[in-house]
C-alpha cells in the first residue's frame, strides 16, 4: 500500500511530458499571439507613427537581448575574473596566477594548446585532400555525405561512438569488443589501455574532433575549388603541370583565403571543445581542456572567480585568431 501511495505521488514520465508540452504550446502560442497582435495594431497606425514604431518592433527586442544577454555578462565576467570565489572581494590577478602556476591547470592549458594546433590543421588538410580528390569525380555526393555526416552528430553522441571504438578489454581471456584493440591484436600488437594513457588519450580525443570537423572543411573548400576558373586549371594542364604540382602551385594559392577561414573557424571551435572531453574521460587522466575546467570551476566548485578567469583566458586566446582572420580578409579585398 505504501509503495503504491508513493508511486501515485510521483509524476510519471507521461505526466511530465504532458506538462512540458503544455508549457511549450503556451510559450509558442503566446509568442505568436504577441507578434501577430503587434503587427495587426502597428500596420494600422499612421505613417508618422510607423516611422518610430518600426524600430521598437523590429530592432529593439534583439538589441535589448544582446545587450542584456551577451554584452553585460561578458563585461561582468571580466570583473568577476578579478574577484574571489563568492565574487565579494577584489583579489587582483590571483585567479590568473593560479591558472598559470598550479600544475593541474597548466596541464589543462597545455592540452588545449595541443588540441588547437593539431585538430584544425589535420581536419583542414584531410578535408582539402578529399575536396581535391572528389573535385573531378562524376558523382561525389555519396562520398561527401558520408564524410559530412558526423557534423550532424552531437559531440556527446560522437563521444559514445568513439569510446566504443577505443574500448579496452582488461581480461585476456575475453574477446575484444573495441575495434581498435581488435585491429591491434590482429596485427600481433598489445593494445594499450587507450583512454587511460597520457598523452595518447588526448590524441584519441582529438581524433573525434577531426572526425567531426573534416566534413565542414571539405564542404567549404570543395565549393572554393569549384570556384576556380576553368581557364586557370586548363592553362596549368596545358603547361604540363602534374596533378600534384597543379594542386599546390595553382589550386591551394587560389583558395588560400578560404583555407584561412576554415582553419580559424575550426580553431575557435576547438578552443571551446567541452562535450567530447566531458563525455569520454570527464577530463581525467590528464586529458582536461580549458572549457571543461571552466565549467567544473564555475559550476562544480562554485568558484566564480576562477571560472571567469578561465573564460577570459579562452577569450584572449581567440582574439589574435580573429584579428588574423580579419586581416586576411582585408588583404584579399585589396588584392582584387
Amino acid at each position: 500500500m505504501f509503495t503504491l501511495a508513493l508511486h501515485a505521488a510521483r509524476k510519471t514520465p507521461a505526466d511530465i511530458i504532458a506538462e512540458n508540452f503544455s508549457l511549450l504550446a503556451l510559450a509558442l502560442l503566446s509568442f505568436g499571439a504577441v507578434i501577430f497582435l503587434f503587427f495587426l495594431l502597428a500596420s494600422r497606425t499612421s505613417v508618422k507613427t510607423q516611422e518610430w514604431l518600426k524600430y521598437l518592433v523590429f530592432l529593439v527586442p534583439s538589441i535589448l537581448l544582446l545587450v542584456v544577454g551577451l554584452i553585460y555578462p561578458a563585461i561582468r565576467t571580466l570583473i568577476l575574473a578579478f574577484m574571489d570565489k563568492e565574487a565579494e572581494t577584489f583579489v587582483g590577478f590571483d585567479n590568473f596566477v593560479w591558472a598559470f602556476t598550479i600544475p593541474e591547470i597548466t596541464v589543462v592549458l597545455a592540452n588545449t594548446a595541443i588540441w588547437v594546433v593539431t585538430a584544425p590543421i589535420l581536419s583542414t588538410v584531410i578535408g582539402l585532400a578529399i575536396a581535391y580528390m572528389t573535385d573531378r569525380m562524376k558523382r561525389p555526393a555519396a562520398i561527401k555525405s558520408l564524410i559530412f555526416m558526423p557534423m550532424a552528430i552531437s559531440f556527446v553522441g560522437a563521444g559514445i561512438i568513439w569510446k566504443f571504438v577505443y574500448n579496452y578489454q582488461p581480461n585476456d581471456n575475453k574477446p575484444d569488443i573495441g575495434l581498435l584493440s581488435a585491429i591491434f591484436k590482429g596485427l600481433g600488437l598489445t593494445p594499450p589501455n587507450w583512454l587511460l594513457e597520457a598523452p595518447l588519450n588526448s590524441f584519441l580525443l582529438i581524433v573525434v574532433m577531426i572526425w567531426i570537423q573534416t566534413g565542414f572543411a571539405m564542404v567549404v573548400l570543395s565549393a572554393a575549388l569549384k570556384n576556380i576558373p576553368d581557364e586557370v586549371v586548363e592553362a596549368a594542364m596545358l603547361d604540363g603541370a602534374a596533378p600534384w604540382k597543379r594542386f599546390y602551385l595553382v589550386s591551394v594559392p587560389m583558395i588560400r583565403a578560404t583555407i584561412v577561414v576554415v582553419l580559424t573557424t575550426i580553431t575557435i571551435g576547438t578552443l571551446k571543445v567541452f562535450d567530447i572531453v566531458r563525455t569520454m574521460t570527464g577530463g581525467n587522466f590528464q586529458t582536461n581542456v580549458i572549457a571543461n575546467e571552466m565549467y567544473s570551476q564555475a559550476f562544480r566548485q562554485m568558484n566564480f572567480g576562477r571560472g571567469s578567469a578561465l573564460a577570459i583566458i579562452l577569450f584572449v586566446a581567440i582574439i589574435p585568431i580573429i584579428i588574423y582572420n580579419i586581416r586576411q580578409l582585408r588583404l584579399e579585398r585589396t588584392e582584387r
Partner: protein
C-alpha cells in the same frame, strides 16, 4: 561567400577531363573509414546484450542475432532515480522547437531593420552584432545564470526582477535565443540586402507601410534563408550539452537527451547495450534532418559560419 555557392551550383563539368581512378579510390576509402564508427554503433545497438559483451560487433555478419530489446529497455524502462529515455527525447523536442523559432523570428525582424531602415548608427549596430559572434559562450555563462536566478539589481534599483524560472525550460530557451541571434541576424541581413531596391521602393510608393512591406514582401522572400538558418540552429540546439547543463538547473524534467546520455556514459561505462541504443536514438533525428535538408544546410554553412 553567397555568390560562391551560386556559381558552384551552376558550374560546368568541364573539369571532368581528368578524373583519376586513384583519387576516387582514395576518397572512397576515407569515406568508408569515416563511416565505420557510426556503423559499428548502429550494429551494436541491435544485438542482444550477451553478444555485445562477448564478441566484437563485426562478428555480427557471421552470427547475425537481431534484438530490439536494448531499445525497448533504454527507451521505456526507467529506474528509481532516472526516468526512461523517451521522456528526455521529448524534453529535447521541447527545448529545441522554441529555441529555433524564437531566435529566427527576432533575427528576421532585426535583419530587416538593419537592411532596409535608414538611420544613424546602423552600420555601427550591424558591425557590433557581427563582432558579437565571436564571444565564446563560456564568457557569458556565470553572469547570465545569475541573471536568471536572481534578476538584475544595481544598487537598490531592480532592473530585472527575479522571475523564478530556474528549473524550467525558459532559461534554456532564452539562452539559446541569445546565443543564436548574432549569427542569425548576420546571415539573414546578408540575404535581405539582396532584395532589389526597386521592389521595396515600388511597394513603398504604392503606400505599403513598413509592417505591410515586411509581411507581404520581405518575409515570403526570405524563406530559403530562414530554412538554412533553421537547420543550423536545430542541429546546434538538439546537439547542445553545455547550455542545457548550465541553464537547466540540473532538473531531470527539462534535461535534454544529451545530458542524460553524458550521464549514462559516466555512471555505467560498460553498459554498451543501453549506451549504443540510447546514442542512436539521439542521433537519428539530426541525421534525418541532415540527409533530407543537406542542401539548405550546406548553403547556410557556406554563407559564413563562425558561431559563439
Amino acid at each position: 561567400m553567397t555568390s560562391l555557392i551560386n556559381k558552384s551550383l551552376v558550374k560546368s563539368k568541364a573539369k571532368n577531363v581528368f578524373s583519376s581512378p586513384w583519387a576516387a579510390l582514395g576518397a572512397w576509402i576515407i569515406a568508408i573509414l569515416w563511416t565505420i564508427p557510426t556503423f559499428g554503433l548502429l550494429v551494436t545497438s541491435i544485438r542482444p546484450e550477451k553478444d555485445i559483451n562477448n564478441s566484437g560487433w563485426w562478428t555480427f555478419f557471421v552470427n547475425p542475432n537481431i534484438s530490439f530489446e536494448n531499445y525497448q529497455q533504454v527507451l521505456f524502462e526507467g529506474s528509481t532515480t532516472n526516468p526512461p529515455l523517451y521522456q528526455f527525447f521529448f524534453n529535447s523536442l521541447a527545448v529545441t522547437l522554441p529555441a529555433v523559432i524564437f531566435p529566427i523570428t527576432l533575427a528576421v525582424f532585426a535583419a530587416y531593420a538593419l537592411a532596409w531602415f535608414e538611420f544613424k548608427g546602423r552600420d555601427f549596430i550591424f558591425f557590433s552584432i557581427f563582432a558579437l559572434q565571436v564571444i565564446p559562450l563560456q564568457l557569458t555563462l556565470i553572469p547570465l545564470l545569475q541573471l536568471f536566478a536572481k534578476g538584475l539589481v544595481i544598487g537598490d534599483v531592480t532592473i530585472i526582477p527575479d522571475f523564478n524560472i530556474t528549473g524550467t525550460y525558459i532559461p534554456i530557451w532564452i539562452a539559446h535565443t541569445i546565443f543564436g541571434l548574432p549569427m542569425a541576424i548576420f546571415l539573414l541581413h546578408n540575404f535581405l540586402r539582396q532584395i532589389p531596391r526597386e521592389l521595396i521602393e515600388a511597394a513603398r510608393v504604392d503606400g505599403a507601410g513598413w509592417f505591410t512591406l515586411f509581411s507581404k514582401i520581405v518575409l515570403p522572400l526570405s524563406v530559403p534563408a530562414i530554412a538554412s538558418f533553421a537547420i543550423f540552429q536545430f542541429l546546434w540546439v538538439w546537439n547542445d550539452l553545455l547550455v542545457g547543463l548550465t541553464f537547466g538547473g540540473g532538473a531531470k524534467e527539462v534535461a535534454p537527451m544529451t545530458i542524460r546520455l553524458a550521464e549514462m556514459v559516466g555512471t555505467r561505462g560498460s553498459g554498451w547495450e543501453l549506451l549504443t541504443a540510447g546514442a542512436f536514438v539521439s542521433i537519428v533525428v539530426p541525421l534525418i534532418v541532415f540527409f533530407s535538408l543537406q542542401r539548405y544546410f550546406v548553403r547556410g554553412l557556406l554563407a559564413g559560419s563562425v558561431k559563439g
